[in-house]
């Protein structure tokens, strides 16, 4: 069967339309039959072609009559709840497809941002980014860092659990807590997490790269820029900050990162 994209409008060409009609009608009746058998339910179909007063039906004239009677006996409320025509059906399809579209766009944005994060990590300039991109990028980095903190913390716990108290210092050496950066959120480093905390959960969260729970919510990204505006954001005074003109034209860390 050829997977050609079908154009959703009336087929003008008579012969093509007749061919399509024959194929599709056959396919449709087959589908009704399958639905009925697979799910053990009653169903019927009635198709009136333009120049034929006799309809094509499934299962049979009598079968249709029976089901139609069954249908007519139902209370009006029940029927109208699930009654559809082209208008209502197409609107529903449009709505569903729109939801899918939004979700796909969101997912793509996340993937794009993660990729950009890695690019800027190895020296791509931040200059051409607009505010929205910077916002999303900052948020993505933060989520990724959170995953790292969590993973490191959990790994510490695991090692401590396995090796006993004597090697807790060794475990601490392996992943020292990050410097108290002004803007970094402070998860409880150096404080032993609950031993009972699930490692699988953390590993799963970390393995997705960027956080699986966070999304590019309006709220979250706005909050990130708000943190930025807080009094902790100093510029010029702090040794660790770069001079403004020098932002990211050259990579800031040893060439280990460059291939």
């Amino acid at each position: 069967m050829t997977r050609r994209k079908v154009k959703l409008c009336y087929i003008a060409d008579d012969s093509k339309r007749k061919v399509s009609l024959k194929k599709r009608k056959k396919g449709l009746l087959k589908k009704v039959s399958e639905l009925s058998t697979l799910c053990g339910i009653d169903a019927c179909a009635i198709v009136y072609s333009p120049f034929n007063n006799q309809p094509d039906v499934w299962p049979s004239h009598n079968g249709v009559q029976r089901i139609v009677s069954q249908y007519k006996r139902m209370p009006e409320m029940e029927k109208s709840k699930w009654k559809m025509d082209q208008d209502s059906f197409l609107r529903q399809r449009i709505m569903k497809s729109n939801d899918q579209l939004l979700k796909q766009r969101k997912d793509n944005r996340e993937k794009e941002m993660t990729d950009l994060m890695f690019q800027t990590l190895v020296g791509r300039s931040l200059d051409p980014f607009d505010m929205m991109d910077l916002n999303d990028l900052g948020w993505t980095i933060e989520q990724y860092l959170n995953d790292i903190y969590k993973y490191q913390s959990d790994t510490n716990n695991m090692m401590a659990m396995v090796a006993g108290s004597s090697s807790s210092s060794a475990a601490a050496l392996l992943a020292p807590p990050p410097p108290p950066a002004a803007q970094a959120p402070t998860p409880d480093h150096g404080v032993m997490r609950n031993v009972g905390e699930s490692y699988q959960g953390a590993a799963a969260a970390a393995a997705t790269g960027s956080s699986s729970t966070g999304r590019f919510d309006q709220m979250d990204t706005q909050q990130w820029i708000m943190n930025l505006m807080s009094p902790q954001a100093s510029f010029g005074g702090d040794d660790m900050m770069l001079p403004i003109g020098d932002t990211c034209h050259t990579p800031l860390w040893p060439n280990n990162f460059l291939p």
Partner: protein
């Protein structure tokens, strides 16, 4: 292809044409196939200009129906076996209805096209991610990194975060100083020029 229920999604299976034994599977199949059936009916009506009526009873005995122009008129036509009266009013109503349906189909087509574009973009982004992971060790999943590498990555990311924050604050600063004073001066200058020209 939508995945309806993540846990019990077993993908495509060959359907043996007997009633599905498992209740959950049956319900899922019913929902999916019913929607697919109505979609086929909608396409048939649009593409080939047929009138159609479908009635389906769910496992819980709910009556789902799809009809073009509407189920009731199709049923009446079927039961009475009389040819339709094709009055002028009817034709006008039908024309309006078809125009509306055409609009909706165009809108749907547009959304579906956009969806296709985004899906393809998603696929290429996935490819990039995969390739990146092969080439650069720091793009590997966090759990696959050694503790030393992880530490390096962490520090680099923290540095990057600071830079991004700085870029952002710089931009905001620059933007806020660019308003009012300069703008007003420029406007005043532009106002005087035409007058000068007229005098000449």
């Amino acid at each position: 292809m939508e995945k309806m229920i993540k846990k019990s999604c077993i993908g495509r299976q060959k359907n043996v044409l007997v009633k599905i034994p498992k209740k959950n599977h049956l319900q899922v199949t019913f929902s999916k196939r019913r929607t697919g059936l109505f979609k086929k009916a909608s396409e048939l009506a649009t593409l080939c200009g047929v009138e159609i009526g479908i009635i389906v009873f769910s496992p819980a005995n709910k009556a789902f129906s799809f009809g073009h122009p509407d189920v009731e008129s199709i049923i009446d036509r079927f039961l009475s076996r009389n040819p339709q009266h094709d009055s002028g009013v009817n034709r006008l109503i039908e024309a309006h209805r078809n125009a509306n349906i055409h609009e909706l189909n165009m809108e749907l087509t547009q959304v579906l096209n956009q969806l296709e574009v985004e899906r393809k973009r998603g696929e290429s982004l996935d490819k990039m991610k995969k390739a990146g992971r092969k080439q650069c060790w720091w793009e590997s999943p966090i759990t696959e990194l050694g503790s030393c590498e992880l530490e390096q990555l962490r520090m680099a990311l923290e540095e990057l975060k600071k830079n991004v924050a700085e870029q952002a604050t710089t931009r905001i600063l620059v933007e806020s100083t660019n308003t009012s004073p300069f703008f007003k001066v420029n406007a005043y200058e532009n106002e005087t020029k035409p007058n000068d020209q007229i005098r000449l």
